[in-house]
Symmetry: C2
Subunit: 225 residues, 2 copies
Amino acid sequence: MSPINLSIDCVVLGFDEDQKLKVLLIKKFINEKNDYQFALPGDLVGISEDLFGGAARILKSLTSLDNLFLKQFQTFGNPERTKQKKDQSWLKMYRKKPKERVVTVGYIALVKMEDYIPHASSFSVDAEWVELSKVSSELAFDHNIILDNGIAYLRDQLKPQLAANLLPSKFTLSQLQNLYEILLDQKLDKRNFRKNILKIDVIRKTEEKQKGVSHKPAHLYTYKK
Amino acid sequence: MSPINLSIDCVVLGFDEDQKLKVLLIKKFINEKNDYQFALPGDLVGISEDLFGGAARILKSLTSLDNLFLKQFQTFGNPERTKQKKDQSWLKMYRKKPKERVVTVGYIALVKMEDYIPHASSFSVDAEWVELSKVSSELAFDHNIILDNGIAYLRDQLKPQLAANLLPSKFTLSQLQNLYEILLDQKLDKRNFRKNILKIDVIRKTEEKQKGVSHKPAHLYTYKK
DNA sequence: ACAAAAGTGTTGGAGATACACCCATGA
DNA sequence: TCATGGGTGTATCTCCAACACTTTTGT
């Protein structure tokens, strides 16, 4: 029986200073002519490597960050998922056995952009933050599906604690509200939002305020503990 | 690189006439002396078999039922998950390569006990419905963990539609409430429960009533559509 | 002085919760 | 006639949604 290969693919999300939700994509060169396609970062699972450990390894090699929010959300096992024509060129260049089936475990990772070190990637290719709405619909393999499922998973897991993993360590209430609005895909009432988030008692007002903004500077908050 | 094997394990739940939530376990004989252990039904994934299709195949061979509620909930990939001593005997008897790593995809299935045909199993072993609270803490491999995670998944996915997959096609409101109470692990107020479930308009009262009970017979309801 | 986002309370309505008694049947 | 679960309505409370103006800064 021909074996099934197992890989991990990561949906890595960041929330930028410009208040946009972005995903980290890998630019894969698929031939000698510098043609490329985008893909989610991923790799085959090591033979004695834990799945979570594998995801952490991929993340670390990509961002040099440890201890990210990192959660398995779904496994993708369509036997045809790596069989499309568009994907054969890359497979032939980089995989010993390009025709073998690959099942992949999807992980979602949240990173604070302030901690992210550009070009820390040890991938032999470029990593790039792409705004969600601008992601190509022609990612490698079934990565568009994986991405969509990852985002959907995040949306319905959204809890106040989750946002802590995307925001800088000090943030304004408007930034937090913004993030919520993007993830929930709906406008929220400012006064109600503030009432609610303060009531559940997970964030604390600091002494500091925003600087250099041409309007009333906002107080900065942090997550408790 | 030594390959990673991929399997599927199913947490199959039924809601009995005696109002207990039960899981379908396989009795595995682990040596020639008729010693056995219990395990979740599962199998290796066929080389060109879809994951969902594989789960459906296992379910069908076990219950002869099609079109069950069937949902992937988590993948378990601890490299040590099949390495415990208690599991070696069975592996040696039934697997060609008992030492190879196995990663397994967990599916949860809900079956209507009225549709279930006892002894339909084509497994060469016995299948047995076991009340959840009475399940051995020494299932094969990491199956206790898989079971617990499956139940937890179900609890927080609980929606009215879900219950339809566990109840007989005609049921009383008390049965429905009972099921909710078990899944949510809390008592619910009878009047409020009825108000709510009727308001969301997913069930319909039929003409029929319970028979042969030594108290006021309850109306039977069905799910709409 | 103007533009731009920060910050702040109150009210009405909907939905959730709490609660107790009579009814129909079989034994 | 008794035991058992079936079936029903109301009052209260809590939570959520709606809503507009003043403040502070940079330009």
